[in-house]
Amino acid sequence: MDATLVAIIAAVVKSAIVIAALLTIFAYMTLIERRVLARFQRRVGPNRAGPFGLLQPLADGMKMAFKEQIIPTRARRLVFVIAPSISVFVALAAFAVVPLGSPTAWGSSPTARAWAPLVADVNVGILYILALSSLAVYGIVLGGWSSGNHYSLLGALRSAAQMVSYEVSIGLAIAGVLMFAGTLSMVGIVQAQVQQGIWFILAQPLGFILYFIAATAEVNRAPFDLPEAEQELVAGYLTEFSGLRWSLYQMSEYINMITAASVAATLFFGGWTLGGLDGIPGIPFVWYTIKVAVVLFVFIWMRATLPRIRYDQLMRLGWQLLLPLAVLNLVVTAAVVAFDVPWWISTIFSLIVLAIGGIVYYVRRRRVEPSAQPSDEALRLALPTSVRLVRIDSSASAATARQPAEVSPN
């Protein structure tokens, strides 16, 4: 067999594996997210379908497939039908350049390289991911616009403005890493980290935090999930979608999340490497998976912890804070790289910026809080009777519970 044929077969097989794997991970991410969120809220979560609820995604999928697919009369039918597919196509395609292991894992002959654990080692890797993640906005905007519904349209517009705003910050935040790496290729970035003996998060803590915030907003996750803010917009751009079309949007959201986590792992956490512990075949994939899983867990954690922010706050954060900080980070990193000073200078700079940010935040909170905190009297008048009673009960029981502890000194 000649090398080209092998390469094409390998590409088809690997692409099929990547797509199947992403869909499986998506299905189980929904389960994991529900279970983890439930634990955060002291509930159990779905655990009836199969052991530990492991068959729940399957049951959900079946249910979705057999739901009625409603196309509202006012919808633009063609756009309404293809919009979810645009979303999911873009999300799947963006994963092509993510390296799951060393490209020379199976040797360096052309045939062995064809089976390398990534679909394609493109020399503009990270740019390709950025480009496709900007396209993700099309699926959402077209879907919301074509629904012919107020909520959908508002959700779509918000989402468009939000995603394009944070796109800028992502591009500038990762430029610092690219200066250290000197390449756009995802494989090259990981190899640069091995060569320089550091993970780039050590040199770029500020860059990482900017990237992480912007990426959360980019994939519309809490606390930036304004396009689907339930309390104000029903379900935002998803309002009129039902059954599998709705699933397609969920799918693209979760796959985008996995891609964002993979980019974070590759750019900032050394991708598939961990010290020198990646020589054995198969082990790099484990490191990669662990790193991505940790980042994904943080996404869920943030959803459980942080309340959704207001739209004007969102735009202010994106344009007036993240963007200037990203440019500042860029200039300082450029100085460090261009004048060839040790990498930890940029770390110190990042930590100083983060410390100043923390202090400003703390001071502002101290200043705002006394007035924002209602007095006990105001609170008592504002609450309905039932809640008032519960509050009095709980404070009374807390008082009685405290007393014995105070009496017994030893």
């Binding site: 394609a120 200066m179 007036q320 200037p324």
Partner: protein, 117 residues
Amino acid sequence: MPDYVPVLILMGLALAFAILVTLVTFVFGPKKPTPEKLAPYECGIEEIEPPRQRFPVKYLTTGMLFIIFDVEAAAILPLAILMRQLKVLGFVELLIFAVVLIVPFFYVWRKGAFTWE
């Protein structure tokens, strides 16, 4: 074989998957449309006006700003990856670039393009 062929293959498979699922949506599931079911969702009340009308110009402003700043961000990337080789020249270049980016940025800030109240 060029590097991009596997990417195209993955895109092809992803497209096939998307089309397949979209076709499947027409096959399964009951089809019992009623006028109420097909009406736009409006929390159960009658709709007053259709949604396709004028919306705040803010969104357009944001879109225009995005094009300007994102093109600049994309133009920084080639400079960024060559920074180690360009050394001082690259740094000066980047400073000029940053000034070109920051001056209009504060201009549109003062003009109130980022204020959403």
